[in-house]
Each structure stands twice: as structure tokens, then as C-alpha cells.
């Protein structure tokens, strides 16, 4: 059997040699065809090349077929994603079957990382940096000269890569070495960035990317601020942040000094923006509530200051409820009744500011501060200068708080306003 096969093989090879000697082939199979200088481009990519699932092979086949890099990237990414989705779905299904009682947020935390490993990183290896990433960096650093935009984009990429390879899990942040590494990366990146920029460029850079920039611009978006307003507010908030960070921590924290710092900064904000806009700055820290009020009042054609006025009513109502709660002369039943009366009063004032038709545009829990009064509860909004605002929630069924909820950051309304 083997001998006969060897004989046949020999015959076949001789025939091949003869056939090859007849002259060059007229064409090559299209599969994985490489472009030949001067040759006309081929007209397709074979299904076989695609179905291999071999991303490098698909890339080469597409390039050989004359596809532009954007198309190459699109198809290769699509193939990688398809493969990843199938794998990830199988893994998730397995998780849901085998350990459904442990399949919570923690168990799913690694899924995004898998997409990074199976799609983003292979794409980077196969096709290099996505030109759209460069375009994003260009627009992010549009205030810089072109060569520096590219440099900063490169710094971003380098550090992103280092960050991506750090293990991320719930407990890592509490490990000394991990925290140190995180700090080191942040510091080194900042050093690299600053070294690339001239002093005026650094100033513009910090205006956009300093510690406080994210928080301030978030409020600017919520209150619909102008660039001039941002440029006026940002240095004041930076100064407040610097000074408050320098205060002693924990049980040594000087609450009164901090409150005074807030009051001073508030008045500076009023001087810079005017009282009404400063007030909006404060209340826009409650971005969900404030944004919903803004949408509702704008769609009803109400005056621009309406959302801030409603938030003021919210605060006044919460403080009055706290006073009722703390009143030792009242029984729990009397307190409950007093809260209901307060609810009716607040409702009347709210109707004047934001009539019921306009309130239709609010989410279901958009007026929780008012509705909860009927349940024996009340909310006190706590506006801040930097971080988002928060509500203190109390129930008259519990003992009143030992310290009243204050809002020292809020500017004092000028007389006549």
C-alpha cells in the first residue's frame, strides 16, 4: 500500500515539475493575495480567509484587496468582537448556571477587562493606534500647537497602557504597593505633561485638566454657563480646594474654619457671577434634580432662575421640618400633623414657582423632598462648593439629629432680592 503510494507520489511530482516549466501561472488564487506593484487590485476577499477567524490573515487579505485602513479596522474589529461575544456569552452562561448564587457585581467585574484583552489589545497589536484616538486627542488638546497635541496624546497612550496592565480588583486599592504605584503613575504623568508645556500652556492645561476642572465643568454644563463664567469661577474653586485640603484631618478637622472658608468663597462667587448665577452654581451640584427642574421650567417657558428658586424652597422646607422634628414640646403625632401642614404650605409656594403642568416633565421621584413629608420623613439638601450636593434624610420616627443640618456654603441673599 505504502509502496504504491510512494510510486504515485513520484509520478505526480514529475508531472508538476513539467507543468511548472510550461510557464508562469496566469493568476494566483485570490485567497490572501498580496498586492503586486503595478498589478491591478484583486476584487474580493475570500470567504475562506474570513472564516478562518485569523485576524492577522483577514487584515492581510483585506489590505491585499486594496481596502482602506478604516475598512480593515472595521472588519477585523467586527471579527474579533464576534468571537469575543461568543466566548463571553458562553462564560457568562456557565457562570449563571454553575454559580448563580455568586453571580453578582464582583463576579462580573472582570468582563470589561476580557473585552480589553480579546478585542482592544489585539486590534492595537494588529493595526497600531486607531487614527480616531489621535483625532480625539487632537480635539482634547486643541488649545495647544499641533506638535504638542501629538506629544500629549502619546503620553496619554503610554500611561493608558501602563494602567491597563495593572490588576484591578476590589481590594487592590487598599494595598500599600498598589496605592503607591497608582500615585507614581499619576505623578509621573503630570511631570511628563508639564515638562512638555510652556507656562501659559500649563495654565490653559490646568484650566481644563486640574483636580477641580471635572467638578466645575460638570456644574457649568448643568447651569448652561459661558466660557467667561467658567474662567471666573475656576480660580476661586481652585483656591478653596487648596486651602481646604491643607486643613488638619479627622478629629482635628476645624469645622468652623472650614465653614468660614466656604462663606468667603461664596461671597467671592457672588462678586464674580452675580447673586442669581452664583446661586445656580451651588444648586447645580444637585445635577440630577437641578437638571430635571431646568428641563421642566424651560419647556414650560418659566424664568431662568426658577430651578434655583425651587431648590431654595426645598431647603427652606427641609430646615422647617428639622425644626419641627427637634421641637421637644411636640408629640410624635403632633409632629406628623405639622409636617402635613408644612407640605400643604410648600405645595402652594411650589405651585407659584413651578405650576402643576410644568411638573409633568419631572421624573416620578423628582419632588421627593415634598412628597416624603406625607410619610413622616423630610430631606434637607446640603449644597457644596465642589462635590455634588447630597440630601440628609430624616424620619420623625427616629430621634432628631444632635446637630442641625446646615448649608454654610450657600451665599447670603442680598437685601431686596
Amino acid at each position: 500500500m505504502k509502496r504504491s503510494m510512494l510510486v504515485l507520489l513520484g509520478v505526480s511530482l514529475v508531472a508538476n515539475a513539467w507543468l511548472l516549466g510550461r510557464g508562469p501561472a496566469r493568476s494566483r488564487p485570490a485567497v490572501l493575495a498580496r498586492p503586486v506593484a503595478g498589478a491591478a487590485p484583486s476584487h474580493g476577499v475570500t470567504i475562506a480567509a474570513l472564516e478562518t477567524g485569523d485576524a492577522a490573515g483577514i487584515r492581510d487579505a483585506l489590505r491585499a484587496d486594496g481596502a482602506d485602513e478604516s475598512t480593515v479596522r472595521a472588519v477585523v474589529e467586527g471579527v474579533l468582537r464576534q468571537r469575543q461575544r461568543g466566548k463571553l456569552a458562553a462564560e457568562r452562561i456557565e457562570r449563571a448556571r454553575r454559580a448563580w448564587w455568586r453571580n453578582g457585581r464582583l463576579a462580573q467585574a472582570g468582563d470589561a477587562k476580557l473585552t480589553q484583552e480579546r478585542v482592544t489589545e489585539p486590534l492595537q497589536r494588529l493595526l497600531g493606534t486607531d487614527p480616531l484616538e489621535t483625532m480625539d486627542a487632537e480635539s482634547r488638546y486643541a488649545f495647544l500647537p499641533p506638535e504638542k497635541r501629538g506629544l500629549l496624546a502619546q503620553i496619554d497612550r503610554d500611561y493608558a497602557e501602563m494602567q491597563a496592565h495593572r490588576p484591578a480588583n476590589l481590594s487592590n486599592a487598599q494595598l500599600r504597593a498598589a496605592a503607591k504605584e497608582e500615585q507614581l503613575l499619576t505623578d509621573e504623568r503630570r511631570k511628563d505633561v508639564l515638562a512638555a508645556l510652556s507656562p501659559p500652556e500649563r495654565e490653559e492645561y490646568d484650566l481644563r485638566f486640574s483636580e477641580t476642572a471635572g467638578q466645575v465643568s460638570r456644574r457649568m454644563a448643568t447651569m448652561g454657563a459661558t466660557e467667561a463664567e467658567y474662567r471666573a469661577v475656576k480660580p476661586l474653586i481652585d483656591a478653596f480646594d487648596r486651602e481646604s485640603q491643607a486643613l488638619p484631618k479627622a478629629d482635628k478637622f476645624p469645622v468652623e474654619v472650614y465653614n468660614e472658608l466656604q462663606r468667603t468663597t461664596s461671597q467671592q462667587l457672588v462678586a464674580a457671577l452675580g447673586y442669581d448665577r452664583a446661586l445656580e452654581y451651588f444648586w447645580s451640584g444637585f445635577d440630577a434634580e437641578y437638571a430635571a427642574l431646568r428641563r421642566a421650567s424651560e419647556s414650560a417657558g418659566l424664568p431662568g432662575g426658577t430651578p434655583a428658586r425651587v431648590m431654595e424652597l426645598d431647603l427652606a422646607t427641609g430646615q422647617e421640618a428639622a425644626r419641627i422634628h427637634a421641637d421637644p414640646a411636640l408629640t410624635p403625632e403632633q409632629k406628623r400633623t405639622a409636617l402635613l401642614t408644612l407640605q400643604q404650605t410648600a405645595q402652594g409656594r411650589l405651585d407659584a414657582l413651578l405650576p402643576p403642568p410644568a411638573r409633568q416633565a419631572l421624573p416620578a421621584d423628582g419632588l421627593r423632598w415634598l412628597t416624603s413629608l406625607g410619610e413622616g420623613k423630610y430631606l434637607v439638601p446640603m449644597p457644596t462648593l465642589i462635590n455634588g450636593g447630597a440630601y440628609a434624610v430624616h424620619s420623625i420616627a427616629s430621634p432628631p439629629p444632635t446637630k442641625p443640618d446646615e448649608a454654610p456654603a450657600l451665599p447670603v441673599r442680598p437685601s431686596g432680592k
Partner: protein
């Protein structure tokens, strides 16, 4: 007749070759038929795949013996092995010559028009069925079982089995219609019925049995599929195989050189001839810039698999979306950089370099909706959404999966801010109403199982279960102890209730596991677990350390509350307490490991020297993950009312302290 599982158990436990041979005899035709379809009718490849499948079966017998029904596993393994063989074959063909479609089918179905249209797309369509439906079809049509036998296998009555098969056939019919194969469900059933008649070549069962047993013995547990395939072949076979392959290549080259085909046509094959051919081409460079529906049709017509077609189309759509997103963000930066609040940008300004983050609404509009319109729901996604509801019958499972999918789609059509609007509230309300409707159809047992998985309390506990590596019985025991109302703390649990539950937990889980459970609610727990694991310390270390911390804090609080002491004496007493606790801490967590811990984790111990102490908050039903630094206290300030003290004490059975 012995069940498959029993045969597998016998083989796994006793290495019983007759048991394994019986398994091969039962299933060889089925596996061979599956493989034959997947490899385009190549008998040799189908035999290789069949051997591979049974080797894997022998290798994994112990694990697979838990399965009541083997068909699903055999089908999946045959499909995967076939895909690998086909890929390898295609690469070879692509390198050496134009592919030849080997289209030999063994028996009459090959000549049957219905079957000819069905064959290329059948397995993809079978993949699209959920497990229960696929099992039903495979048992009925590919193993030739009666409805009664299908019922026995799937633990259903004969009538239910009949309904299951019919429903599955309907679904299969719909899936095939999407792939261009239209026929009546009855015709489909007839065509499928012939599959039970596909027989493996004579002698294959015997050779497969021998080879599989040899392969299973020699293949390591981590061996790759290709390595496993090699184990089938003796050296003689390998030499013969090499010569045969060389001969085949050479002869093929003869054919190629003689015919010298021109470049393959750019025109796609018509849909009715959608049989994958290595030579069929698609002008992707051009098509990717045009209408995606055309791109889809051309890929399908050229024989691309549905998965590949979807992948390519998705890639093109995503690229367009990404381009638009970059352009939008550039415009946003140009016209309003000071109010750019897209968090992809904000959160990364200082802590990390900028990262790309999707705009969900735009992604839905430009990628996900068009994909749904072009292809219908992604089978992977459907299967994934149904998986958590596997404890339910297929119809209820599908109903839950559908309502969750509809909800996710509706919400993703709203921009971030719009979700907190009446529109968002309406979507949530509708989802809740639909959920209530489906819940109303559940039997009490089903409802109990549903609550075990999806109640608010269950959602709170899953992470905690993950942290302590709980078993299912442990989870069920814990859920039996804690009332559902504990999930939202309304009404708040009293100290007496928490104490009673702590006792019940110890009774149900044993003291050590109850301790793990309780302390897994503390935010420090994962850090101690990681440190202990990496240092090879005992499993319960984290809970023991936290137990020590809680005991220490109680003593510190007593010192703080002691009115007979002045501040200096209290400070001295805390320092003494620190010295007293140190040996116990060191024995649980050696100093080298303590050194690795940063942040606030160890301050319950380290701060004692500075006159401070810290409560370790946890709760019987509290979730985990939120960092709570609250509860710090200093002997220089008034005694806090409660801080973050726990309200319960775990008692070790048989006495002892906490």
C-alpha cells in the same frame, strides 16, 4: 438498558471498556452524522471528528457522568471539533490551491432537494435553539427516539415531550427561514427525520472505541484538541498519512496547474447556493463603504457563516458610529470645552489617561438597532439572557429574558439625563408591570426559586457569597435565615432580631462559615482575603482578623466610656490594649503581611497608639463594596452614641468568646 450516565460512571470508575463500547455504539451514528454535515460531507474528516469526540468523552467521563442527557454535549463537541478541522483544512487549501468542495453525501438525503437546502445552515440554526429545545430535536430526529423516550430522557411526560419537540421544530423553522431556507415545518420534520438514518461507516464504532480509549489514556487533561487527534494515529498510520497527504497535494497541484483558474469571480454566489467555498469572494473593500444590507446579502450569498456575516457588518457599523462620536466630541470641545461633562473625559482628567467610553444612545441608534433589523436578535445574547432563568420552563424563561431585553433596549434609547425623566420612569414602570404579569404565572415552587435568585435580598447577597466562596446549600441556608425585608432595612432589624439570626446562621453553617459570612459585609474583608490568599494563610483568616478587630474595638470603647479615667490614662490604656492585641494579630496575620496593607484597613489596630479606635461596621444582611470610614472615635472627644457597632455577637458553639 443502562443509562448513558451509568455507563459513563462505570467507565470512569472501573475503566469498563464494554461500558464505553456500548456508549460509542449508541451514539456513533449521531456524532458521525453531525460531523459529516459540518465538514461538508468529507467522510474522512467526519471520522476524525468522531474519533476526537469520543476521545474527549473518555477523557472527561467522570465529569460528564453527572449529565442525564449526553446528546447536547456530543453535538457541541462534534460541532467544535468540526469547526477546528474545517478551519485547518481551509487554511491548507488556501495555501496550496483553490479549495475543492467535497460534496459527497452518503445516502439518499444528499439527493433530496429539501435536505440539500437544509444541510449548510442546519447546525447554525440548531445552535440558535436554547438547550432544552436543542436536546429535544436532537433526541427525536438525530437519535431517532420516540416521544416517550424523549420524555424519559428529558424527564417530561410523553405529551409534554411531543409539545417540546413541536415547539422546537417551529423555532428551528423560523431560524432557518432567516437563513433563506423556507419550507413547511412538516417538511422540515421529514428532512430531519432522515438524519436518524445516517449511519457511520461499518467498523467505525470499533475503531473509535479503541482509539478513544487509547487517546484518553495518553492525553493529559490539558492536551489540546489537535494533540488528542494525533493520539489516534499509530506511527504506521502517521507515515501512511504523510505520504497520502503529499500525494493528495501533488495530485491537486496537477489539477490546478492544468486548469490554471482565473481570479475568482467577484460576484457572490446566489443565496440558494449558500454553501461555504474557500474560493467565493466578496469585495469587502467596496461593500464596507456602502449599504450594510447589501454587504450582509453578499456575504450570505457567498456562503459566509451567519456569525461571520454578523461580525463583519457589526464591525462596519461600529466604525461608522465611532467616527461620528469622535466628530461630535471634537465639535463639543470646540464649542463648549468648559461644560464638557461627558464622564469619559471628566473622570480621567487626573487619575488616569483619557479612555474611550461609549455613548449608549448613539451606539443603540447606529449599531445595535440596525444589527437587530438586519439579523434579528443575536443568538448569543438571547442565550445569555435566558441562562439566569434556566430553572424555569422554556416559555417563562423566554418571557423574562424578553422583558429584560426590551427594558435594556428602551433605556439605552434614552440619553443619560433623559433616563431620569418621565420617559425613563415610564420604561421602568412598564418593565415592572410586565415582570409582575410573568411572576403571576409562576407556580409557588418556581416563585421561590425566582426569589432566591432575583429578590432584592438575593441581589444584595450575591457579592457576599462570591467573597466567601459559598456553596449553593450554604446560600440556601442563609436565605432561609434572613427575612426578605432585610434587603432595604425597612423596617430596620432590631438588635434582638440580628442576634437571633446570628444564632441561626451558626446553627446552619457552623461557626467558622457563619463568621466568614458576617464579616464579608465589612469593606475591609476583601483586602484581608487577598493578603491571606497570597501569603498562603488559612481560609478563615480574614474573618478571624475582623473578629479580633471587633473585640478590640469593644474594649477600646469600654476604656473610652470609663469615667474614672482622664484622657491621658485613656490614651495609656489604649496603648496597652494595642500591645495586648499585637501577638494575636501577628499570629493571624504575620507582620510582613500587615506591612502590605495600606489605607484605613488596619487603623483599628495602628490608631490605638494615638488614642483612636475604629468601629468595623458590618451587618447580617448588609451588602458589601461600599467603603465606610465612619465610626472613628478618639478618647479626646465625647463617646459616640453608637458609631458603626454591630448589633450582634456570634457565639462559638460549646462556649468561648465571640
Amino acid at each position: 438498558m443502562l443509562e448513558d450516565a451509568e455507563l459513563l460512571r462505570r467507565y470512569a470508575a472501573e475503566k469498563s471498556e464494554p461500558a464505553f463500547a456500548e456508549l460509542v455504539r449508541r451514539h456513533v451514528n449521531f456524532v458521525y452524522a453531525c460531523a459529516l454535515r459540518r465538514v461538508g460531507g468529507d467522510r474522512q474528516l467526519a471520522e476524525d471528528v468522531t474519533q476526537h469526540v469520543f476521545t474527549a468523552l473518555a477523557r472527561d467521563a467522570a465529569a460528564l457522568a453527572q449529565r442525564e442527557v449526553l446528546s447536547g454535549w456530543l453535538f457541541t463537541t462534534a460541532r467544535n471539533a468540526s469547526a477546528q478541522v474545517v478551519r485547518t483544512e481551509r487554511r491548507r487549501l488556501a495555501r496550496e490551491t483553490e479549495a475543492q468542495l467535497m460534496n459527497e453525501l452518503t445516502s439518499s438525503p444528499a439527493h433530496d432537494a429539501e435536505w440539500e437546502r437544509l444541510r449548510p445552515v442546519l447546525d447554525d440554526a440548531l445552535d440558535g435553539l436554547n438547550d432544552d429545545d436543542r436536546q429535544a430535536v436532537l433526541l427525536r430526529y438525530f437519535e431517532g427516539k420516540s416521544f416517550a423516550e424523549v420524555g424519559v430522557k428529558l424527564r417530561l411526560t410523553e405529551n409534554t415531550a411531543r409539545m417540546r419537540v413541536e415547539r422546537a421544530l417551529d423555532k428551528l423553522h423560523a431560524l432557518l427561514a432567516r437563513r433563506g431556507v423556507t419550507s413547511t415545518t412538516a417538511a422540515l420534520g421529514l428532512a430531519l427525520a432522515n438524519q436518524a438514518g445516517v449511519a457511520a461507516p461499518a467498523g467505525l464504532a470499533a475503531s473509535v472505541t479503541g482509539a478513544a480509549l487509547r487517546g484518553a489514556l495518553t492525553a493529559g487533561s490539558g492536551a489540546t484538541a489537535s494533540l488528542s487527534l494525533l493520539h489516534f494515529m499509530s506511527m504506521t498510520k502517521i507515515v501512511t498519512g504523510v505520504v497520502a497527504v503529499a500525494l493528495a497535494l501533488s495530485v491537486t497541484a496537477n489539477g490546478y496547474l492544468l486548469s490554471r483558474p482565473a481570479v475568482a469571480s467577484a460576484d457572490p454566489a446566489p443565496a440558494s447556493a449558500a454553501i461555504p467555498t474557500a474560493a467565493a469572494t466578496v469585495p469587502l473593500a467596496v461593500l464596507a463603504r456602502g449599504d450594510v444590507a447589501v454587504l450582509r446579502d453578499k456575504l450570505r450569498a457567498a456562503g459566509a457563516s451567519e456569525a461571520m456575516t454578523r461580525g463583519v457588518v457589526e464591525g462596519v457599523l461600529r466604525r461608522r458610529y465611532r467616527e461620528k462620536l469622535s466628530a461630535q466630541r471634537a465639535e463639543q470641545m470646540r464649542t463648549g470645552w468648559w461644560k464638557d461633562s461627558s464622564w469619559w473625559y471628566q473622570t480621567s482628567r487626573t487619575q488616569a489617561p483619557p479612555r474611550f467610553v461609549d455613548d449608549r444612545k448613539l451606539l443603540r441608534e447606529m449599531v445595535l438597532d440596525p444589527l437587530d433589523q438586519l439579523f434579528g436578535p443575536d443568538p448569543d445574547e438571547v442565550a445569555e439572557r435566558e441562562a439566569p432563568f434556566e430553572f424555569l420552563p422554556a416559555d417563562k424563561r423566554a418571557a423574562f429574558a424578553a422583558l429584560e431585553r426590551d427594558y435594556a433596549i428602551a433605556m439605552s434609547r434614552l440619553a443619560g439625563a433623559e433616563q431620569n425623566s418621565p420617559a425613563g420612569s415610564k420604561i421602568i414602570r412598564e418593565r415592572d408591570e410586565r415582570r409582575q404579569q410573568v411572576l403571576a404565572t409562576l407556580s409557588p415552587d418556581e416563585r421561590a426559586e425566582y426569589d432566591l435568585r432575583f429578590s432584592p435580598l438575593a441581589a444584595r447577597l450575591h457579592d457576599r457569597m462570591d467573597l466567601i466562596g459559598a456553596t449553593e446549600p450554604e446560600y440556601r441556608a442563609i436565605m432561609g435565615v434572613i427575612p426578605a425585608s432585610a434587603a432595604d432595612g425597612r423596617p430596620a432589624l432590631t438588635a434582638e432580631q440580628e442576634q437571633a439570626m446570628a444564632r441561626q446562621l451558626v446553627a446552619a453553617l457552623g461557626y467558622d462559615r457563619a463568621l466568614d459570612y458576617v464579616w464579608a459585609g465589612a469593606w475591609e474583608y476583601p483586602t484581608y482575603v487577598q493578603i491571606a490568599r497570597e501569603a498562603g494563610l488559612p481560609a478563615g483568616t480574614a474573618a478571624r482578623v475582623l473578629e479580633l478587630a471587633a473585640e478590640t474595638t469593644e474594649q477600646a470603647r469600654a476604656i473610652h466610656a470609663n469615667e474614672a479615667l482622664d484622657v491621658a490614662e485613656k490614651r495609656a490604656a489604649l496603648a496597652a490594649l494595642q500591645a495586648q492585641v499585637r501577638p494575636a494579630l501577628n499570629s493571624l496575620l504575620p507582620p510582613a503581611q500587615q506591612q502590605r496593607i495600606g489605607g484605613e484597613v488596619l487603623t483599628w489596630f495602628t490608631a490605638l497608639g494615638d488614642g483612636h479606635y475604629r468601629f468595623i461596621p458590618t451587618g447580617i444582611a448588609m451588602g458589601t463594596g461600599s467603603i465606610m470610614i465612619a465610626g472613628n472615635a478618639s478618647v479626646e472627644t465625647p463617646l459616640p452614641r453608637s458609631g458603626g457597632r454591630t448589633q450582634f455577637v456570634l457565639r462559638r458553639p460549646g462556649g468561648g468568646g465571640k
